[in-house]
């Protein structure tokens, strides 16, 4: 389906990102080139261990996030990093999302203009 035929199809709104918890995870990781530790990510996104693990697994299986498991001192430590594919796809997602909001803003401005015209003087 061409973009011109269905301008509101928004096929670029990747379902993997379009979920509240995963959007929070990816947005947090997007600002950190070196990635974030599991505990930091949990705190930033306000998720439980189980929830975060589940969403990270979905992102890892899609090749969008890398989970480096190792040790920090004697304690196990997991570093979560957006992969290059993840960065490219999230950038495309943000582009489409911006487009959606921009169109909504234009529609809103248009609706306000026509309602002010219709108002009796």
């Amino acid at each position: 389906m061409g973009g011109n035929e269905a301008p509101f199809a928004y096929e670029g709104l990747d379902r993997i990102f379009h979920e509240r918890a995963r959007l929070g995870i990816v947005t947090s990781l997007a600002g950190h080139a070196e990635g974030l530790g599991f505990a930091e990510l949990k705190m930033l996104c306000g998720l439980t261990d189980g929830n975060l693990s589940r969403h990270l697994q979905v992102l890892e299986e899609a090749g969008l996030v890398n989970l480096d498991k190792g040790y920090e001192g004697k304690r196990p430590f997991t570093r979560c990093i957006l992969t290059d594919t993840g960065r490219d796809r999230f950038a495309a997602y943000l582009d489409v999302l911006s487009e959606v909001v921009r169109k909504a803003s234009q529609a809103n401005a248009g609706a306000r203009k026509s309602s002010s015209k219709a108002r009796p003087v």
């Binding site: 600002g31 080139a33 490219d88 999230f90 495309a92 943000l94 582009d95 909001v101 803003s105």
Partner: protein
């Protein structure tokens, strides 16, 4: 501010942070190395010309022209490479890189213009100042280039210091005050980019 406007500004903020934390892959090691070789060649040619008489304002004009050629070479290569390697993020990455680069470029241009206009007899200070600016640019780019870029940046800082001292003692600029620092510095940058590309398995 409406909800929609707030959403748009939050999205712009996320995109900015995203671009600032993404490694810029537009710089081609080969093109960067070529700019180093150009600096060495220009210095060699200028030093031959210097044996026939003082270079005067030609010294600065030659290096400004060299900088423009080098920037053009890197810019054209970066445009193509960024579009190929960053795909959907290319425009964002290029804009973020330009935002980082332009203040240093503008500072260099203004310093050069003012010195050549108002105090051309202290033109010896320019090579050291240019190197210091490149060093600061390198340190500022640590977030978007490989971390090892600190080493070339450190080199430029050191060579800038030495060049300022040498210039202060001699009172005249020498072609090798530019050729050696930029020749070695750019080759170092190319090496860092090449090594990082090999580690990442990229180009």
């Amino acid at each position: 501010m409406s909800e929609i406007d707030r959403a748009l500004s939050e999205l712009a903020f996320i995109q900015d942070r995203f671009a600032a934390s993404t490694r810029f892959r537009g710089l081609a090691p080969l093109a960067v190395a070529a700019t180093g070789v150009i600096a060495l060649l220009v210095a060699a040619t200028e030093s031959i010309a210097a044996t026939r008489g003082p270079l005067g304002s030609d010294f600065v004009a030659t290096w400004v022209a060299t900088a423009i050629v080098a920037a053009g070479l890197l810019g054209v290569e970066a445009l193509g490479r960024a579009r190929r390697l960053h795909a959907g993020m290319a425009e964002m990455m290029l804009a973020s890189t330009l935002r980082l680069l332009l203040p240093f470029g503008a500072a260099g241009a203004v310093i050069t213009f003012v010195i050549m206009r108002a105090a051309p007899d202290v033109a010896w200070i320019l090579p050291g100042l240019w190197q210091m600016l490149v060093a600061l640019l390198g340190f500022s780019a640590v977030g978007t280039l490989p971390k090892a870029i600190m080493w070339p940046a450190g080199w430029y800082f050191l060579s800038g210091t030495v060049t300022l001292l040498l210039g202060a003692y001699s009172g005249t600029p020498d072609p090798w005050m530019m050729g050696a620092p930029f020749g070695v510095g750019q080759l170092l940058v190319a090496f860092v980019l090449q090594r990082e590309g090999a580690i990442d398995g990229g180009e």
